[in-house]
């Protein structure tokens, strides 16, 4: 089943004196259950593309359709609400609210969605167990390692039951063991629960695990390999 469709998406940054043509006519389709990596050198436009997929940025022209909704037409609070209910985010860093515990960080997003307290707590425990942090419910982010923090972020991203998870260089700040661990967890979630993951990455280890690698250069898709 089609989750995301990009039709001739262009992005031109016009704000400085120099026009930057960041994304040029990208057409892509992501199916449910994909484990895809978007790769390319820095400045290639992959972050811009990912931001547009996540509804954080709007294409200059073209269309992005997520589960039959044209998200480039959404504005203001409707767009924020769309993100809350449909997209899970894992960022490179600063994923978590530092004053809240791991449990509260995961619960928070469900609270915003209006999930009742009892259900929230159950799901939080289940998710943190799944990412191997069942014993760290009450730890603050500062008390967790970088890898553990990213695993909490994955649990948080899953908590809202999104259509797909966007991960912007999730392993960039991690050592190889933590990277391995995080990737294993995401792969397991993808295989067992059919969670769709889309990464942007430089990391060869991520590319190795990915079942689809989309290479971008100068804002264009130059290669789209499925394994």
């Amino acid at each position: 089943m089609k989750v995301i469709e990009l039709k001739n998406v262009e992005k031109i940054y016009n704000d400085s004196e120099v026009k930057v043509h960041a994304v040029r006519g990208v057409d892509l389709i992501f199916e449910e259950g994909e484990f895809a990596a978007i790769v390319g050198p820095s400045g290639s436009g992959k972050t811009t593309l990912l931001n547009m997929l996540g509804g954080l940025d709007k294409p200059t022209s073209g269309d992005i359709v997520i589960s039959d909704i044209h998200i480039s037409e959404l504005t203001g609070s409707r767009l924020i609400d769309f993100r809350l209910h449909n997209i899970g985010f894992v960022f490179q860093s600063y994923n978590l609210i530092p004053v809240l515990t791991a449990k509260e960080n995961v619960e928070f997003i469900m609270q915003m969605q209006g999930v009742p307290a009892k259900k929230r707590l159950e799901r939080t425990k289940e998710l943190l167990n799944e990412v191997g942090l069942g014993d760290r419910l009450d730890s603050r982010p500062a008390q967790l390692s970088g890898g553990q923090q990213q695993r909490v972020a994955v649990a948080r991203a899953l908590a809202s039951k999104p259509k797909f998870i966007l991960a912007d260089e999730p392993t960039a700040n991690l050592d190889s063991k933590s990277t391995e661990n995080l990737l294993d967890i995401m792969e397991k979630l993808n295989k067992e629960e059919h969670i769709t993951f889309i990464f942007s990455t430089h990391d060869a280890r991520v590319m190795k695990k990915a079942r689809r690698v989309i290479t971008i250069e100068d804002g264009k898709v130059i290669r789209d390999e499925k394994k």
Partner: protein
């Protein structure tokens, strides 16, 4: 949802403890100074209002309008018995006292002074006014004597040179050896028992007997300690009787009172109305003033309005009209207190805005993340606003606790301003102030503080709302 935002707001206050503590302490001090100052002013005004009503004016006064216009003996209240009957049956009346009032010249052997003489019914007056509780020497018109009694104020006694100074052996024997050194006490014995009528003369003999240091240190205390009122001194009053003839009755000073209003003390004297009538020729139903005490100030005001409709031929005034300046103070004192605290909070608001701005600007990335994952603008705004309110409120609650403790203590002990006593009492204000802060004041301050917290958060919160999540996430 709400609880989590509240919890984040509260926890965010403590992310940078030092910075928050600076604001909290500033708010604490501001609120403490603000509430204490307004409590102090309120205590002062309350005392003045109390004295006005329970010593000087009472709640309602009735006069013949002609008397107010031209204070002459014959202008007594019309239809006295009817008026008294209505007062007796009116609701809200606690007690009433009839007074004959005239301006007289008083003469002692050493000086003369003019004052307002009130002829009163002692027992009735005691129910209306607290003047008998302010007697510092002698008694309030008790007992019967061949030469009748008069009660005068301490300032009048001073004016009539009845306040004397004398180093008596009795007083020397009972002097407190902890307050004065033995050397000073020995020197005092050499002064002798001569009596001085002028403070100036007594001070000059003191300064001659003591060294300069001793005089500077003990002069005031010694002058006060060896001062005394001469009781039982005859004074001659010059008054005009009903027929316009001059009478000069003699009274003996058998009571001296002191209030916190020196002017009143200098100008008001009391005698028994029956005795005064013997000289004025007025009968027992002829009085110039009826003072009425009511249950409380509000009822008193209302009672005044009610009674004035009953007595078209008389002038009825409530305390609000008798002392309009005090009535105005009582109306505005709350407002003035809040304006004062408002100004303090306005100044503090700039500090709070600064702290909140710093707090927002150093969390740009985190705020970007929150907006990206789906935190809407209302929630972002609430989170920052709550943080600002909690920050302000922490300081305010601490400040209010400190002021509540200080008010509780000073309300019992009073704040002593005796250094300026002379000046304050000259305008009717006590030198010992008992600050008053009511529960309503505390609630008012809390509401003002919350408002300040909200207003101070608007600018920082707007800054946060303007962030573009994608850009915010990319900032370093």
């Amino acid at each position: 949802m709400k609880t989590m935002i509240w919890s984040i707001g509260w926890k965010n206050v403590w992310r940078n403890k030092t910075r928050s503590m600076v604001v909290i302490i500033a708010v604490l001090l501001g609120i403490f100074v603000g509430t204490m100052t307004s409590g102090f002013m309120k205590g002062w005004i309350n005392q003045r209002v109390h004295d006005i009503i329970y010593i000087e004016e009472s709640h309602v006064q009735i006069h013949n309008p002609d008397y107010l216009f031209n204070e002459e003996l014959q202008f007594t209240i019309k239809e006295f018995e009817k008026v008294v009957h209505i007062i007796d049956t009116a609701k809200g009346v606690v007690a009433w006292s009839p007074r004959v009032k005239m301006y007289v010249m008083a003469q002692s052997d050493w000086a003369a002074s003019g004052f307002a003489l009130k002829g009163i019914d002692v027992e009735k007056e005691k129910k209306v006014s607290e003047i008998h509780k302010n007697i510092i020497e002698g008694s309030f018109l008790e007992g019967e004597y061949k030469i009748p009694s008069i009660v005068i104020g301490s300032k009048a006694a001073e004016n009539l040179k009845l306040l004397n100074y004398q180093v008596t052996s009795g007083k020397l024997d009972s002097i407190d050896h902890e307050l004065f050194t033995d050397e000073v006490i020995n020197k005092l014995q050499n002064i002798g028992e001569k009596r001085y009528r002028k403070e100036k003369d007594f001070r000059s003999i003191l300064s001659q007997s003591l060294s300069i240091q001793e005089y500077n240190k003990y002069g005031d205390k010694l002058t006060e300690y060896f001062s005394f009122y001469r009781m039982g001194i005859k004074i001659k009053l010059t008054i005009q009787n009903k027929n316009g003839e001059i009478e000069q009755p003699v009274f003996k000073v058998r009571g001296i009172y002191k209030t916190s209003n020196t002017m009143f003390d200098g100008l008001t004297a009391y005698v028994d109305r029956k005795i005064l009538n013997q000289y004025t020729g007025l009968n027992s139903k002829e009085v110039h003033e009826i003072a009425i005490l009511s249950t409380d100030n509000e009822t008193g005001t209302e009672l005044g309005e009610r009674l004035s409709s009953y007595f078209p031929e008389s002038n009825v005034m409530s305390w609000r009209k008798l002392s309009p300046e005090v009535a105005m103070y009582t109306d505005f004192i709350n407002l003035i207190g809040f304006i004062y605290i408002g100004i303090i909070l306005l100044a503090l608001a700039f500090g709070i805005i600064n702290t909140m701005l710093m707090s927002v600007l150093e969390r740009v990335k985190e705020l970007g993340m929150l907006m990206a994952i789906g935190m809407n603008k209302k929630r972002v705004f609430s989170m920052i606003m709550l943080e600002s309110v909690f920050l302000t409120l922490s300081g305010a609650v601490a400040g209010l606790i400190v002021s509540a403790i200080v008010v509780k203590i000073t309300n019992r002990t009073g704040i002593n301003l005796s250094f300026w006593a002379e000046g304050l009492e000259a305008i009717g204000y006590s030198a010992i102030v008992y600050p008053v802060v009511t529960v309503l004041d505390y609630i008012g301050v809390i509401l003002l503080v919350i408002l300040t917290g909200i207003i101070s958060s608007i600018w920082p919160a707007r800054k946060a709302l303007k962030l573009n999540p994608a850009e915010a996430l990319r900032t370093e």
